[in-house]
Structures are given as C-alpha cells and as structure tokens.
C-alpha cells in the first residue's frame, strides 16, 4: 500500500497535490499493514523540492492519540530513504508500521474486557531537521486507522517507541546485535561483571588513572599519579621517602636517617637532667637527675667533694694557677710540684682575701727564661723585654744600663688611677740607688710622674705630685709598696723586711691623673741610664689596697717568691 503525501512548504499543510493547495482532511490506514509513504515537499505548494542535504537530514513521522501530545507513539518511523540527486520530483519514502503493540492496545485488540474498536482517529505529524538546525514540522493532521478484518498474516507487532527500550537482566544475556537507536535505558541491568577486557576501554595516556577530579558528577577523566604516588609496572605505589625518614618506593619499612633527629625533635626534658639510663637492664633512655647521673658515672657531688676536701685538708688546683703554670711551662719554664703548689696557694689565697680581682698585672720573673718571665700571672698576657736583660733565678735586671720590659698596656686601661692604685716591687738584693727606675709610665722630664722607687736623693720617691722622703729606706732586700688608702685618707709607702716595716704616710690623695703612656718595668722606654740594675723578683699593679690589705698581700707575695725561688728575703 502506498500513500502519496504532499507538504506545502509555505503553509506546512498536507495538501491534495501540486497546485492543489486544499488541505487533506484526514489520512486513512489499515491496522496490521505497513504503509509505504511517499512524501513530496512542494515549494509554494507547486514545485517539488528537496528539503536538505540527505546526509544531514533527519525525518520522522509520528502517530499519537488525538490531542494527547505527551502520549507515546502508536506508530512512528525515522527510517527514511532520500531522493536521488537530480531527481525532478524528489520524493522521501518510509514504511510506517500500523502493526504495533501500542496501536493494538488502542484498538483493544487482545483485550479480555473490552471490545475491539472498528477504527480509531489519531493525529499525525511529519518533522524534519537538517544537521543541528531547528526542526520543522507539518501542521497536525488527522489519521484514521481502521481495524482489520483478515488477520493471521501479519507478523508480530512492533514497538512504536523503540527509543525507550527497557532492558532487564544482564548484558551478557541480552542480544544487543543489530541497530539500536535513541536512548537506551540500562538502569534495570544488574551491576555484575561483564566481559569487557581492559583493552576495550577508551585509550588513555601513559601512566594515568581513570576517575574524576573535577567537582560534581560528570565524565570520567584521566588522573595523574603525583605527590608521592608513582606507577611501577602495572601498579601504583608510594614513592621512595627521603629526608629525615627514608623508605624505598612501595615499602612500608621506614628508617630514620643518621643525624636526622635534632634536639628540637626529642621530647622535652625537665630542667637539669641529662639523657642516660639509671634503671637496671637494657631499655629506653631516661632523663636522669644530677644525682642519678652521678650514680651512673660514679661521680661525687660538690657537697661530697667539699666534705672530702675538708676532712683531708686538701687544696684544689685553682684554675688561674693552673693556667699560669701551663703558660710559663709552654714558654719553656720548668715548674716543679712545689712551685705549682706555691702558685696555687698564692692565687687561691688572694682570691679568698678578695685581692685577686684588684690585681691587674703581676709579673713573677723568676723562671730564667724571657718568654716565661714576660707572662703576667693575672692576665696571662705577655710583656716585651727589650735590650740587655739578665734573667736570674731571683728575678730580672738590666745587664748594664740598657733594658726594660714593656707591659704593652697603660694604667688607665687597667683601671689603675690616681684615686685607686697600688704598686708592689719585690727586690731580692741590691740597693735602690744608682738611678734605678724599676717602673715608670712617663718621661723623666715630667716631674709629675710615677717613680716610686727612685731614691737618688734628687727626685726622691714620688707618685705624681706627691713626694715621699724615703728617709726610712734601709737599702736592704725588701718588698716595697705604695698605694692609696681612701678609707684612711692618705697615701702610704712601705719597705717591708721580714723583721720590720718602714712606712711613710702622706695625708690626702693624688690629684694629678696618671699618665697614659705604657707601663714599663726595669727601665724607661728608650732610656738606658735609668734602668734597674738590681733584680726585680716580682712586680704588680693593682687598684686600691688598704694598708691592711697591703700588709697581707706583701706577706703572701714574699712567701710565694721564697717558696718558688728557694731563696730568702731578710
């Protein structure tokens, strides 16, 4: 059965034919048959024309119950043949089946309760679209489908809505061969294993996972492995750990690298504790208290040590004493145990008496070696001997009249001032005459200078503007000292012998500031004739020592010198 349809492209109505623009009232078909439709599109209702590129053209005809536009199709066809190129009467053809499940249902065919209808009036529409362009539809036309009388020759009814195929079961159980167009509803399929092999999945770049990293539902995406994850053969694994904790790639066996655990990464410790282990047996480190630590190493506490010292009447080596002994030994001096003890006793005693801090320079040149004799017992700095100096066991003196020792510092730098000073000079033998200038800090042209031991009957003994008579001097070996006693409000000059002390007191204080020139011992800088030609066994420059402190100090100094040299001052 063939039906010729003419579409007026101007009015979009089905018309009688070319030039016959009256509308077709209704189309009539017979149920159970497939109607061959030949559609000609007429420009201006007259001239047959094509309606688009056959390769891009989609045409469909649909039949639904009248005025039920949202109803599913009762008959429907999208499979159209296109006219040949150059055809004078381009005609579009399709076979529209009226043997459908939906149409049978509408006619009550097979109904157990309702009688079949003789015919049914439906509505139809032809729609076409070229490519992605907007679709064009005819005006809705009436379609009358008459029930058929002779049956038994038609095939099984089609589904008029193949676009909504519902599949159940499993994909493996279904036959998906052939052509299936439109959306396929696979929601009813059981999510079971299927037979797709990996190679059937869409091609992906090397070393990528399939997943989705973009927010929201959407298409699968390629995901790279990074941030410590890497591909290894057919698997992904954690990359190798480096840094403070290391592990090979893919291994959970981690190792703390050598030297990686800083103090900051250790657990906090209580104050005054150290790492160790006091508990018996092997085990974790512990934070030990001082008492625990001492027990571990078998050490005595300071209290224990003090007790031992007191009980045994011991004298501990003084750090300054050890340092001085080490310095002079390094310089080539030979220091006996007795000498070490004497030095230690002297320095410890000075500290105990509170005088050590007051002493700024103390030279003890009894070692017979220039380098050792130049070392200050207090500061460990070195002076510089110059010229002909004799280094005797009892002390140093100018060999002839040309020689001195530069202390390489000045009194001001030492904090020794005209209001806080003390000088001591131990002279083992000889007189103070012969223009001896044991130490000076200024040139001889300036009478406001420090020549405390210059007793030549001319300049006498002087500290800046203060002059002592020196009438008590005996010209015997002695320790001579001079200093200020601010508490007593006077200046003193003493010559200390073992049996007696000559002393001269001057009231008041030195008002002129001390010179800033370097401190020289034995003689003056660049002046030979005033050098000391009798030994100096010790010399010190200090800040203020009271007269009582001076007495104690010279006693200690005498003991030191006598013990170390093995000689005796009268």
């Amino acid at each position: 059965m063939g039906v010729n349809l003419h579409v007026d492209l101007e009015t979009l109505q089905l018309i009688q034919g070319p030039g016959q623009r009256s509308a077709v009232a209704a189309l009539r078909f017979k149920r159970g048959d497939a109607a061959r439709l030949r559609v000609v599109f007429l420009e201006s209702g007259v001239t047959p024309v094509t309606i688009g590129d056959p390769d891009e053209l989609e045409i469909q005809i649909g039949i639904k119950p009248r005025n039920q536009f949202d109803h599913s199709y009762l008959a429907h066809c999208v499979d159209w043949s296109m006219p040949s190129e150059g055809d004078d009467t381009p005609t579009y053809e399709c076979f529209l089946s009226f043997n459908t499940l939906q149409l049978n249902s509408a006619l009550n065919i097979g109904s157990a309760t309702d009688d079949e209808l003789p015919e049914i009036t439906l509505m139809g529409e032809i729609t076409w679209r070229e490519g992605m362009g907007e679709p064009t539809s005819t005006r809705t036309f009436l379609v009358v489908v008459e029930n058929d009388v002779n049956r038994g020759t038609e095939g099984a009814p089609d589904d008029a809505n193949p676009g909504n195929i519902t599949l159940t079961g499993t994909i493996a159980a279904l036959n998906l061969s052939g052509t299936n167009t439109g959306d396929q509803d696979l929601s009813g399929l059981a999510p079971i294993a299927h037979t797709h092999v990996v190679a059937d999945i869409v091609s992906v770049a090397s070393q990528r996972l399939i997943g989705r990293h973009t927010s929201g539902n959407g298409a699968a995406q390629e995901i790279q492995a990074s941030g410590g994850i890497e591909f290894s053969g057919g698997a992904i694994r954690r990359s190798a750990l480096t840094g403070d904790v290391t592990a090979s790639a893919g291994s959970n066996a981690t190792t703390i690298a050598n030297d990686a655990v800083s103090n900051a990464k250790l657990a906090n410790m209580a104050t005054a504790t150290i790492k160790g282990r006091a508990t018996a047996g092997t085990g974790d480190p512990e934070d030990l208290t001082a008492a625990q630590a001492r027990a571990v190493i078998g050490a005595y506490s300071q209290i224990d040590i003090n007790t031992i010292i007191a009980v045994n009447n011991l004298v501990l080596p003084d750090a300054n004493a050890m340092a001085y002994v080490a310095a002079v030994a390094t310089a080539g001096a030979t220091v006996t145990n007795g000498q070490r003890t004497a030095i230690n006793t002297f320095i410890s005693g000075e500290k105990t008496a509170g005088r050590w801090d007051k002493i700024k320079r103390l030279y003890f040149p009894v070692w017979g070696v220039t380098a050792a004799n130049a070392i200050c017992m207090k500061s460990l700095t070195s002076g510089t001997f110059s010229g002909g100096i004799t280094h005797a066991a009892k002390g140093v003196y100018a060999a002839g009249f040309a020689g001195n020792m530069n202390a390489n510092t000045n009194l001001g730098a030492l904090g020794v001032t005209n209001t806080s000073y003390h000088f001591a000079l131990l002279m083992p033998d000889g007189s103070e005459e012969n223009y001896s200038i044991p130490f000076s800090v200024n040139n001889t042209a300036n009478l406001n200078s420090i020549y405390p031991i210059w007793s030549d009957g001319f300049s006498s003994l002087r500290i800046m503007e203060k002059i002592f008579s020196g009438g008590f001097l005996t010209n015997l070996p002695s320790i001579m000292t001079t200093g200020n006693d601010s508490f007593a409000g006077n200046l003193y000059f003493k010559e200390r012998l073992s049996g007696s002390t000559g002393e001269e007191i001057i009231a008041g204080s030195v008002t002129l500031p001390f010179p800033s020139a370097n401190l020289f011992i034995i003689g003056l800088d660049n002046v030979s004739y005033g050098s000391m030609n009798h030994p100096i066994g010790a010399f010190s420059a200090s800040t203020e020592l009271s007269s009582a402190q001076d007495t104690a100090y010279t006693t200690a100094l005498k003991t030191l010198w006598e013990t170390v040299t093995g000689l005796t001052l009268p």
Binding site: G332, A371, G388, A402, Y435, Y529
Partner: protein
C-alpha cells in the same frame, strides 16, 4: 756598651724583624733587642741597638734554652747591620737622656 750604631729606621727594621720571628712561630713578642737614641758623643742623633754578649745569650725560651743566635732570622738581622764586627763600645753616658739628672 756594645752594640750597633745605626739610623732609627734601620734600628726599627731590625726590631720589627725580631718581632716577626716570634709571631711567625705563634708566640707573642716577648723580646726585642731594643733601640736607644744616642744623645751625645760623636754618634749623637743616631740610634744604638744593644748587642753585647748578654743580648746574644738571652735565654728566650726553655727546654732546651734557645738564645737569639739559635734563630736563623737573628743571624740575618746581624748580617744586615754589617755583622758583629762593626759593633762599637759606646760610652753609656752618650745614651743618658738629658732629662735625667744623675
């Protein structure tokens, strides 16, 4: 007094070389030959560098005792000043500063 009569510059250079010999050995400068201006006599205005036997035998360091002549640098310094034979015996009075009254 036995020693070298020289200019102040040469005397300073000799003492600087002596100092360097000590600092080069990591030691402080604990000894110098010294230099004294000559105030009177035929060499007035020059400088005197003491260099008698006591200088040459000064015990600088011990264990064992080493004197200036044990140092190679000192021999060169002596040589630079003309050698020991050019030393003179200078009257001590020539070195006495006029600022000091005997």
């Amino acid at each position: 007094m036995i020693g070298f009569v020289t200019t102040q510059e040469q005397a300073d250079a000799a003492n600087a070389a002596i100092a360097k010999a000590q600092t080069d050995r990591g030691m402080p400068v604990f000894w110098l030959a010294g230099s004294i201006p000559i105030h009177s006599g035929e060499h007035a205005g020059m400088h005197f560098v003491p260099c008698d036997d006591s200088i040459l035998s000064t015990p600088l360091i011990g264990n064992p005792i080493q004197t200036p002549v044990d140092y190679q640098e000192f021999a060169k310094i002596i040589e630079s000043m003309g050698g020991l034979d050019v030393r003179i015996d200078l009257p001590a009075a020539d070195l006495t500063s006029p600022d000091i009254e005997p």
